[in-house]
Every structure is written in structure tokens, then in C-alpha cells.
Symmetry: C2
Subunit: 287 residues, 2 copies
């Protein structure tokens, strides 16, 4: 049952259910002078679906609440919402619309785990390998390109388009999340706030430290983009046996995750190539 | 799993699932010069749970996204959210928080139907009785009291407090909705926009007209409050046999619903005591 009745109806659904909600606010999560309202809508859907991916779940249905001024181009916004939902095979089954001073898109997604339990943030143990689904920093580099922060923007080429698309149209890695869960990942999170911050969440809730050997940098991005840039939506996971995860990904035709380091027993440890990551004063010595 | 992981986990859940999302926007759904941020939070939760009630479902879990300026008193807001969730036994299991120019609370609720299907808006047939769970207009009268629109506000007494509470702290009628579904209601909706508007939705989607004999008015409210005032969250339902619904409600200890009229085959019919309800020009002749 689509928008037009009081609630959407679906199922029954086997296994445990997942529920998450995320907002994309104009001026906070997207600068509408740089990207379109369709990109804002896409981002809101991708953020919520990525949370399901980070639990190892399958996305089932989404509902979308939009608040904004009367001048909001809703057709454009919903085109982005619909395109992202379709790209992730997660139908939008309902919504709400209201006036408001600023434009906010709130997406809630129901997912499920057909069998077994979720991969939480809290399951990492000392000695576990740390892996990431791909190189990082493309979204941050794309945003920088859009802002024209490079003195001379390079001649537009395939790499730039990829970087800008990474910022405008991020993908949630549902297949990768499920493969990691089935292959025995002990903890997992999506990189929405940046690798340093998100891996920090895993470390804190798991009671471990982490020692990274290196951070894979997306082509055209910088080391700072890769470590601190958010909104890549790559998945970071831990597992006692990295080779089992790599094999499982390859078995289902996915790009193998990259081993970037290991969890340590020292909760206070957060290093890249032996150098502490400690916020403000950190100078990216590994670049 | 509570806020702090990527998504909440619950279930497995038997039967079909319901999913709905609703917003409460400061200045649109609540005037913060008249009510508190806690009331705004309460309203957002009640609106979403009421959508589940209107399908005849049980509310299972809620997620709450809040956007607002940095000065927002989040403690106060979440107190209202939590109180409403607790009153309806629907735990809040996750959320999102963001800066934004205005304050918006978006609540998404998952519900379920342990057996059978939902009561849709589209199932009414000519000849079906129309019933409402209680007298209407209290929330609209309470809002008017808060606005001081009555030249001389009456001495504060029990009725006024009830009216103001009806506006500030509406309840979703979950037990009533489920009783109606189990007793064979053919269509149902919650009164959020006003009886005339919401019954109009049922009539349009069902392809029927309606002839109301009378509209029960809450003590202290006016006939206009009862017909056009929103946010009462009473349920309006249709059924071939009104007595079956009345008996079912009494059987589970609920106040019996009130028969207010019947569905007709003439889709253009929308009357109260024989007088058409036709928007702007309508002068409440039945008051």
C-alpha cells in the first residue's frame, strides 16, 4: 500500500528487523549552491540505507518525510529520492510533507536479517584485522572540487567526474555488508563522518585500540580526505581472519576488501604507521 | 539495540508490517508560544502512532529525527517524545540529530498486524454505517483557548484543562483501532485534518458518499471544532453492521463507538442532517 493510506503494509518478513532514520538538511548535509535538490534527496536515502548495510542487513522499505519552504522544487527532490531508492532496490512506500523554514529530508528504512544477528559496532577484539571495502576520500575530494578550492581546477576529466559523483550520489554497500556479516565480521560501521571518527566509534564501543598500517586513498583524493573526509559510505569491518572475508567477497563477485591494520588491546591506541591520530594537531605524516 | 549503533534491531515479528512517518514542525504543527517543545515532541510521536492505529495495527518501535537550531532545548523535547512513546508502549529505539533553521521532529513507526490484513481507507461500501470513537473538537477548542480567542476566557475549570490537554497531549487510539479491525470494520482513518476532510478521504478512495445524521461535539467545543478541527486523533470507521462494532468495543472494555451516519452510493454526497458540506460557504446549520 503506497502513500495515500495511513501507513504502508508489507511482509511478513523472516528474521530480525532493522530500523534506522537519517536526515539530510540543506546547508548542513548539502550545499544547494553546489548540488541539486535531487542530490539532497539521494543523499538522505543513501545515508539511511547505508546504516542497514553497516549492520549486514537487507534494505526492505523506506518512508520519506520532507519539510521545506513553499518554493521547494519537490519534483526535483523526489526524483533524487526515487533514483536512489531504485538503485538500492528499496521501494519508498510512504511519506509526509510539511512547510518549514529550511529544507529537511528525513528517510527511515526498515531492513532485515534473514538469518542470524547483526554486525554491531561493539564486537571487535584485540588482534582482529581491520578492513575497508575500498579507497577513501573521493566524496571529500569531490566536494572540494565543487567548491573550487583548488586554485586552478584541473581540466575536467574522468577522475574529476568520479569524485564529484562520489559526493553527489553516494552508494550504500548492501552486498558488501551482507557478505561481511556472513563471513564472520565481528564489528562494522559505514564511513559517514570520516575513517578516523568512525573507526573511533568502533574502538570505543568494542573496548579496543587500533593500529593502521596505511589508509587507501581514492584516486584524485588526498590522505587527509581519506582519513577525515566523511560521506564515502565505504564499510569498515573487523574480523579475526582477514583472508576469510577476502575470500567471501571474491566468492560473490565483490571487490576484495583491503586490510588496513589491526585492533589492539591498548584502548588508547589510535595510530597510522605508528603515528598517533589525535585530532587538531595531527599533520598527516603518512601522506 | 539502542541509538549508538547504525540501526536498531528487533523481532522477528509475526504477521504483516506497517511503516509510517510523520513530522511535527514548530510554527506549523505547534505554536511554541502556546505549547512547549515537549508538546511538539509528544505530538510528533502521537501522529505517527495514530497512523498505525488507523490501520488496526499494533505499534512496535519508533525512531525520532530532530532538526533544529543550536539553542533547541533537546532535553525538554525528548521528554515529550519519551512520555508519549511510553504512554503508547512503543519504545524509541534510534534517532538522528541535526542543525537546521527551524525545529522539526520526524517520527517513523513500525507496527504490525499479528493476523489478517489492515483496515484501509478504501474499503467502505454504500450502506455501511459510519462510526466515530468519541466526540470531536476538543483539540481545536483547546487550541482556541490557548490563543485566547474567546473574548473572556472562562474561569479555568476541569473542562478547560481537558480541552487544552487534548491539544497538547493527544492520544493515539491503538486499542480502538485493533478492536475495529477485528470486528470487521471496512474502512478507517484517524481524524487529523478534521472529520469533514478525513471522512472525505475515505469517501473518495472508497467511491462512496456519506450522509451524517449528527456529529458528536466534545464538551466545551463548538460544532465547527467538531466538524473541521483537526488533531483529535479519534478514529472514524465504517462497517456493514454497526452493532457488531459496538459489541466488540464493549467486549474488550472500550467506550462504544458512536454511529454518526451511513455511506451512500452517490459519490458526490457529503451531508450533515441533509445539508451539504461544501467548504467555504458552509455555515454549520446543524449547530
Amino acid at each position: 500500500v503506497w502513500i495515500g493510506d495511513d501507513a504502508a503494509v508489507f511482509g511478513p518478513i523472516e528474521g530480525r528487523l532493522l530500523l534506522t532514520t537519517d536526515q539530510a538538511v540543506a546547508g548542513v548535509h548539502a550545499d544547494l549552491e553546489l548540488v541539486g535538490l535531487d542530490d539532497l534527496g539521494w543523499r538522505a536515502v543513501a545515508r539511511a540505507i547505508s546504516d542497514v548495510a553497516a549492520m549486514g542487513g537487507r534494505a526492505l522499505r523506506a518512508v520519506v518525510a520532507v519539510a521545506g519552504p513553499p518554493t521547494t522544487d519537490l519534483d526535483l527532490l523526489y526524483r533524487g529520492v526515487g533514483a536512489c531508492a531504485e538503485a538500492h532496490q528499496c521501494p519508498v512506500v510512504g511519506g509526509d510533507l510539511s512547510g518549514a523554514p529550511g529544507t529537511t529530508v528525513t528517510v527511515s528504512v526498515v531492513g532485515h536479517l534473514p538469518t542470524g544477528g547483526p554486525v554491531l559496532r561493539s564486537g571487535a577484539a584485540p588482534g582482529d584485522a581491520i578492513l575497508v571495502t575500498g579507497p577513501l576520500g573521493a566524496a571529500a575530494a569531490g566536494l572540494r572540487l565543487l567548491r573550487g578550492e583548488r586554485a586552478a581546477r584541473r581540466a575536467s576529466g574522468p577522475v574529476d567526474e568520479v569524485l564529484i559523483a562520489a559526493h553527489r550520489r553516494p552508494r550504500a554497500l548492501l552486498a558488501e555488508g551482507e557478505a561481511a556479516r556472513l563471513a564472520g565480521a565481528t564489528a562494522m560501521i559505514d564511513v559517514s563522518d570520516g575513517l578516523a571518527a568512525d573507526l573511533g566509534h568502533v574502538a570505543r564501543t568494542s573496548g579496543v585500540g587500533f593500529a593502521l598500517d596505511h589508509v587507501p586513498v581514492a584516486p584524485g583524493a588526498t590522505a587527509a580526505d581519506a582519513l577525515e573526509g566523511g560521506d564515502d559510505y565505504e564499510l569498515v569491518m573487523t574480523a579475526p581472519r582477514a583472508d576469510a572475508l577476502v575470500a567471501a567477497f571474491r566468492h560473490v563477485g565483490l571487490r576484495a576488501p583491503i586490510v588496513i591494520g589491526a585492533c589492539t588491546a591498548d584502548r588508547s591506541q589510535a595510530t597510522v604507521a605508528g603515528t598517533p591520530i589525535d585530532g587538531a594537531g595531527w599533520e598527516h605524516p603518512w601522506q
